[in-house]
Subunit: 217 residues, 2 copies
DNA sequence: GAAAACGGTTAAGAAATCGTTAAGATTTAG
DNA sequence: CTAAATCTTAACGATTTCTTAACCGTTTTC
């Protein structure tokens, strides 16, 4: 049975959703404001989050930023494109404007749960292990803190560690996280990653392929 | 670069989408009706499909049912929940109603393409194997390092190894990588490639066709 | 048969790319 | 609002790659 966390300050919407989704055999958990949601998310594992953006204490976007390994469907009264794009960029998987239709919500929930059957394992290469928390890299059992961009770059390199990835493709793949990153910026990030790796290993893990891009080595 | 197939009978929408998505560095393919789309999908690999439901000959839903390993975003004028739910149930990954906002579409495209890589097959000819994803050339199991231009030239020759390719056409095809390359420069590159091949094989792989261009031999 | 065009090789100078650093701008956290 | 962290920009030297131009032998043209 799939476990869905509803984060929403309006109690009547909670009730409607709970009644409907329970009938569809989902297990429902409730949070009525942001801090509460973060606490629950720290302690428990959910299969999906239904998130209202307009929360009293904490901005809903904060939750999107924090949650990385659980699909999020945003439910919001904001209909503007900017709001939608922002949420999706931040990491949300879908966006529905209120008032929404329950059948459509159900269908979209199923889409998210369908593609979620294979949770991404941590990426490993030689003595490197990139954890799923979006900023930690293990090298010879040493924890290395990576910035958001460094993590995104290393992740792309580690997905296919033997393949060369062109600079343009790399920039494109990380463009959601860092839209302003260009080739110059990229080489600085690569340099910074190498510097961090050098602390715990003399091996050169990132190899430049002249004129093309980079690969693991 | 990601390859997007647009399936849509309205030509003006094609143009709008192509112009916008090309600017965002996507490669666009077009299909104007269902059968055409199915043919293309059989022959080619796409990273994403933008699908209009109201196709003249074939129902768009047929395409959703057929496609299994490529994410689909449905673009439709149908706003009814039943239609949306049907599509999502059938296997679509997202659903946008016309008229849609291009920025929102882009954000939703990126959600679907997140951390998606597509391996490309290698080009083989006799004892040569050009590994696309590794950006290296194998000759009798020896790894040969090629420069960007050398790689581009050899790739074009190997795509149709039995056909003669004229110097002008060759220069045109690699002009994206090396805009300054002329005939003189080309023959130097060919010479350099031959020199590298000579190290591991006595065979002459690149043959000059007098007055025309080059072919594999 | 002589002149012109073409193909192949070579070497040197020009151009592009990489890696690093530091400073300024921007974002994030407290 | 301030301080810290992160990102971008720009410069530099080192290295690799590319183009240019010369030379020579072969093929084509006249």
């Amino acid at each position: 049975m799939n476990n869905i966390l509803i984060v929403e300050d309006d109690k009547s919407i909670h009730n409607i959703l709970e009644e409907f989704l329970t009938k569809e055999h989902y297990q429902i958990s409730h949070a009525y404001e942001g801090q509460e949601a973060l606490l629950l998310l720290e302690k428990n594992k959910y299969d999906l989050i239904l998130l209202d953006l307009m929360l009293p204490s904490l901005n809903g976007e904060e939750i999107i930023r924090t949650v990385k390994d659980t699909p999020i469907i945003v439910l919001s009264a904001k209909v503007s494109t900017i709001d939608k794009v922002n949420c999706l960029k931040l990491g949300a998987n879908d966006y529905l404007t209120k008032p929404f239709n329950l059948e459509e919500l159900l269908a979209r929930i199923k889409v998210q749960l369908r593609s979620k059957t294979n949770p991404t394992p941590s990426l490993k290469y030689k003595n490197l292990e990139l954890l799923n928390d979006y900023h930690t890299l293990l090298l010879n059992n040493h924890k290395i803190n990576l910035t958001k961009t460094e993590y995104a770059i290393l992740k792309q390199l580690l997905i296919n560690p033997n393949e060369v990835i062109s600079k343009n493709k790399l920039l494109d793949l990380i463009s959601l996280d860092t839209p302003d990153c260009d080739e110059n910026s990229l080489k600085v990030h690569i340099s910074n990653i190498r510097k961090k790796l050098k602390k715990y290993s003399s091996q050169n893990y990132i190899e430049a392929v002249w004129g093309i891009g980079f690969k693991m080595s």
